[in-house]
Symmetry: C2
Subunit: 240 residues, 2 copies
């Protein structure tokens, strides 16, 4: 789905369905309704929120974009903030699903950290508009503040893994662990600024895999090629 | 200056003065005016733009925050968009000043690239609210579109340096140069999301130096510690 160009009637669900909405949301079009279930309604709402900002979007705007009446929207949700909550949870549930897998793993901290980075890139590619909305949330509503609190929990998981990997001697100790954690996910999150899904020729999973490889290559192993001679030099700044 | 908390009356200029505004802007308070020159007016305007969004900020909002009349603002600029243009140029002029130095240098491409990254971190720390505004510009006005065009020129300089460094054999060839360039400046730009100037105990230059070290350490040399044994292994994925 090209970012910012979803039009009414497009209904491909943006997520792989891992966090499908409850069946009660109604996935079959009702008689007399133009075929929106909550899933496709949410996809359009998130696109409009990203274009105009959540605060700058009214239910009237959504109604116009969806070409359905406001009461048809209220059939699915009680308020604009409900749509925001569903959208932000879509991003956060994806990220925490990866964090839960990683936390339960028996791998070393640096391996878990790398898996968390890779998994987060997949979530970002799979749920791009939702993650974009999350990263732009500034805490203007109760819903945004709750989302930011969950985001801080996630960041804490990252920071703890970095510290553990540093204690294991697997991560360079010359950068403060808190700064390292922020740079690492700053790198991941910066993808929302330029990554756009391409044409159908490559699947979303392939694209996510290539992006995850690139992010991990840069973050964990660095851009610079180490020459063989470097390893025989004294260890102080051999490669600079 | 704590981000988002500049209040009327605070007038420390946010830049080191390298791109000082023309003297005609009037740097001495006028009789009967509450002491705003264009520089301090701009600093407050940028803070409000970052808080509320440029589109969501009216001249009325600026007048209230500055506690001066709208006509006092119009004494300095013709329109809100003039303030936006001055602010975006403040960020872009800083970045291009670094790019010009780097382009004129005789160093190798990877050294020039590292200097461009370091210099950009300094500009970001020195002019944080201006760079933040630039990175959030979405092209809603002619002024924003002109700024985005200049930003693309800057990104092209980065991409060209990455390609050159890859041709020199100094940068890993397994990541697409365009992706590398985007990740590199994604990392730099992500600083605006979390870096906040601390107390006066450390100077801004020291903070910028430490941040630049951290960014270059991660981007160029990677987080992972290479063990000595690795260098004796075959070169394919020795460190994984």
């Amino acid at each position: 789905m090209p970012h910012g160009h979803a039009s009414a009637g497009q209904s491909a669900p943006p997520s792989g369905g891992k966090t499908a909405l409850p069946a009660t949301a109604g996935s079959t079009p009702r008689r007399g309704r133009p075929g929106y279930d909550l899933e496709s309604l949410l996809a359009v709402a998130v696109t409009v929120f990203n274009e105009r900002g959540y605060d700058g979007t009214s239910m009237e705007d959504l109604s116009r974009r969806l070409r359905i009446s406001k009461s048809s929207i209220y059939y699915h949700v009680d308020s604009k903030e409900d749509l925001l909550a569903l959208a932000l949870d879509r991003a956060l549930d994806g990220l925490f699903s990866v964090a839960d897998q990683v936390t339960a793993s028996a791998e070393s901290a640096i391996e878990r950290l790398e898996h968390l980075v890779r998994g987060s890139v997949y979530v970002l590619v799979d749920r791009l508009p939702y993650v974009t909305l999350l990263l732009r949330a500034r805490g203007n509503t109760g819903t945004e503040r709750r989302a930011l609190a969950r985001r801080r929990q996630f960041d804490q998981i990252v920071a703890d893994l970095v510290k553990e990997a540093e204690r294991d001697g697997d991560i360079r100790p010359d950068v403060d662990p808190a700064v390292t954690a922020r740079l690492l996910f700053g790198l991941v999150n910066s993808l929302v600024e330029w990554y756009r899904p391409g044409n159908r020729a490559t699947s979303r999973d392939e694209a996510a895999g290539r992006l995850a490889d690139a992010v991990c290559a840069v973050a964990f192993d660095g851009l610079r090629i180490r020459r063989v001679a470097d390893s025989t030099e004294p260890r102080s700044s051999a490669s600079r």
